[in-house]
Symmetry: C2
Subunit: 447 residues, 2 copies
């Protein structure tokens, strides 16, 4: 008698919020007071190995409960799924989630519902990697190219990238992959840091953190800009004087400007040699980014953390609107959609420098860049992963930065699991921190 096949038996969701707004960590021109949050999902199974799949959507506070509700809406697609089949071919789940004809109306493939799909799909890949005993980057890098291509949804992409072209890219990417894996394990993957540049920090703090970044081995930092031009000029001057001429300094406007304003403002900062201008305008404005890029060269144009799916990335590349593709591990529909975006970028020859920070975005996205290096583009030239030194302690397998590089993870999975004590403390509103905080607020402001 064969044993009953193992199945997904529970989809647990958690509303996790950190009170980051109180330190102005993460403050920028559009997001003055974020409370970094995660709509967190845990897939539990009845397999004897005890592995769970962990995933999350990152949000910045209010509305995290809507994001949790969106993940809850997907539960019916997960419960009872056969684990062996799911991990052997996660694309079957993808098709069901993206293709749910009623849920599709709420996007399609954008916003809260699409981020929910991303959280769940990433949790499945976490589980698959744990069951394979491999860190996700390695599972991807060692997978058969044919299988990887089968994981990707090419709908709406074939005018720019066909499955055949993707397969050719992946086959070529396998050449020399073993050597690159060894090099990656030895040296890590280059990072840049945004920690000095939050808009809420004063010049002293900016100066001190910029100097520390250089001392720590980072070769690129990033400054938030876009609220006030005089302030930006002063802060760019301060940062450049601290880091010297050879360290790259990116600037990030977080979608603050219209097209004309973006061009004028970026040119006004050009004297400080910004490496790229990030999110100069609406993430939906493909043609606007193309116009800005034409006008501000040689300053590069970067965007992606709010680009909601592969169709928009496709067009940004088709329109010549970008110098840098900034994938985000938790905005689009999870690992397979990011595979599509990495392959699009490779085809168009545009480097990928992921967005990270937030809650666990560094932990996730490092796997995608490492896969890109080992098994797609084969290079880290002009490629850096964003690094922000917040909230890593809450993860069971946090990123490790050495000399400005991400160390390659070796633990099986996608590095997505939060510590149990974090769940207990930062669940909103019932966790220990928030319960005490809401209680204190009540006492401090008697009705």
């Amino acid at each position: 008698m064969s044993p009953t096949p193992a199945r997904i038996i529970a989809v647990d969701t958690h509303d996790i919020r950190f009170p980051t707004s109180r330190e102005l960590d993460g403050s920028d021109a559009m997001n003055p007071d974020p409370d970094y949050s995660a709509a967190y999902v845990v897939l539990r199974t009845d397999a004897a190995d005890g592995h769970e799949g962990h995933g999350f959507a990152f949000t910045i506070g209010r509305g995290n409960e809507v994001q949790v509700a969106a993940i809850d809406a997907l539960r019916g697609h997960l419960l009872g799924r056969d684990l062996d089949g799911l991990c052997a071919d996660p694309a079957t789940l993808n098709r069901d989630l993206i293709g749910d004809s009623q849920l599709r109306w709420l996007g399609p493939e954008k916003g809260v519902m699409h981020m929910a799909i991303g959280a769940v799909v990433n949790a499945v890949w976490d589980l698959a990697a744990k069951r394979a005993g491999l860190p996700l980057w390695r599972l991807l890098a060692e997978a058969e190219p044919e299988w990887l291509v089968g994981q990707i949804d090419f709908r709406y992409l074939t005018d720019a990238l066909t499955p055949e072209e993707a397969l050719a890219l992946l086959r070529r990417g396998r050449e020399g992959a073993g050597e690159r894996t060894a090099r990656l394990l030895e040296r890590g993957y280059p990072a840049y840091t945004t920690s000095p540049g939050w808009l809420g920090y004063d010049d002293d703090k900016l100066s001190r953190l910029a100097a520390r970044a250089v001392a720590d081995g980072f070769t690129q930092i990033k400054l938030k800009v876009g609220a006030d031009l005089d302030d930006d000029i002063r802060r760019c001057r301060v940062a450049r004087s601290v880091i010297g001429p050879h360290v790259r300094m990116a600037v990030d406007a977080n979608q603050r400007w219209d097209v004309g304003e973006a061009i004028r403002w970026t040119k006004a900062l050009a004297a400080f040699d910004p490496y790229w201008i990030e999110e100069p305008t609406s993430p939906d404005d493909i043609l606007g980014h193309a116009a800005i890029r034409r006008a501000v060269a040689p300053v590069k144009v970067a965007t992606g953390e709010h680009v909601h799916n592969r169709v928009v990335f496709k067009q940004l590349l088709q329109a010549g609107a970008l110098d840098v593709v900034q994938i985000d591990a938790a905005r689009v529909g999870g690992v397979p959609e990011n595979l599509a975006i990495l392959l699009l970028a490779a085809k168009f020859g545009v480097p990928v420098c992921p967005h990270a920070g937030g809650v666990g975005l560094c932990e996730l996205v490092q796997h995608l860049s490492m896969f890109d290096y080992v098994a797609v583009t084969g290079t880290t030239e002009d490629r850096v992963i964003e690094y922000v030194d917040h909230l890593h302690d809450h993860f069971l397998d946090p990123v490790v930065i050495r000399q400005g590089h991400y160390t390659a993870p070796t633990a099986p999975g996608f590095s997505a699991a939060l510590r149990p004590e974090t769940l207990a403390r930062y669940t909103y509103p019932g966790g220990a921190f928030w319960a005490a905080d809401l209680d204190a607020t009540k006492k401090g402001h008697p009705a």
Copy 2:
């Protein structure tokens, strides 16, 4: 002593679902079995006039609870608002909703959160129109151009449309508005009907309903296509043979195709003289629509019901990707964003033919097209509002169609209110219909 100013005192939300999937009403190539639904919001006030503001997001079933949760997340921005101030300048609320820096992360300006903003903003305009004693189209058409321009968020638009250009369009639109109002009240606004063309209907039903549409005075019908080319060819032949050569026949693929496929499929149907191909591919694919339009002319290209905001409409127009702009009253951020889109379309000289159907979309969008006719473009040439004969009985002020035309509403407000008995019957899952249905399901399938 002056009286206490009236305020918003409650934001009631309702999850309303109709079991439309059982008749295959609304079936198309991407949405085979929709249960037309509304995340419905009622703003209650303590004003003596007793007026309420009604609004909703339309969905097609599963996930309507997520849409309700998103509206709930906006409640804090509404409760306690001074009514006189809000109705005199609704833009103050818009800025707070769109600009909520934490909620913004969940879009920005797309998907579930943006539709929630649209529902709430539309409810405010419904309330404002009721307090003014005017149907919304008339409130808009008689408003001062300066005030209307002040209601529009021009962020990300100024490279295509400036406030000054918008003002000039609205001032020019006022010339002759009185005569057009009289003509509108007399003749109504032209409609086309999708009722014959649902994909789930057999050829007999298609044929019978197409003949009835012509007899009812419609000069355009629409057929759903995209699931099977041989079926589409047969159905187009049937429809064309019934309606003759002079009635326009649009076809609608509901995003089914990639770019190349859209071109091939549309050309294969060209023998039946389709007037437009609607949603040939992803609503996010601006460059794809432009490529399709270049290839399939003289068949026109139409899209918009899933275009998530003004920034995407701007680019569709800039790229020459569209012959027909299909606004939707409940997808974008409500009345003010649709004003921006109407003005963009007017500037680019592209006619607006709204998407409607669903739950109450006809009721809402007629006001926007009538405003466009009276006070923006001054014409109904090549302009038709979609009409689908479903679910109107559930509204207190349903659309009235005469001889293929929408009759201009005269009751104050935005025609958005559902009947109280509908709320009682179709609230999910506790309303009378669903409670009985779930009970019968349980009894029919004992565990």
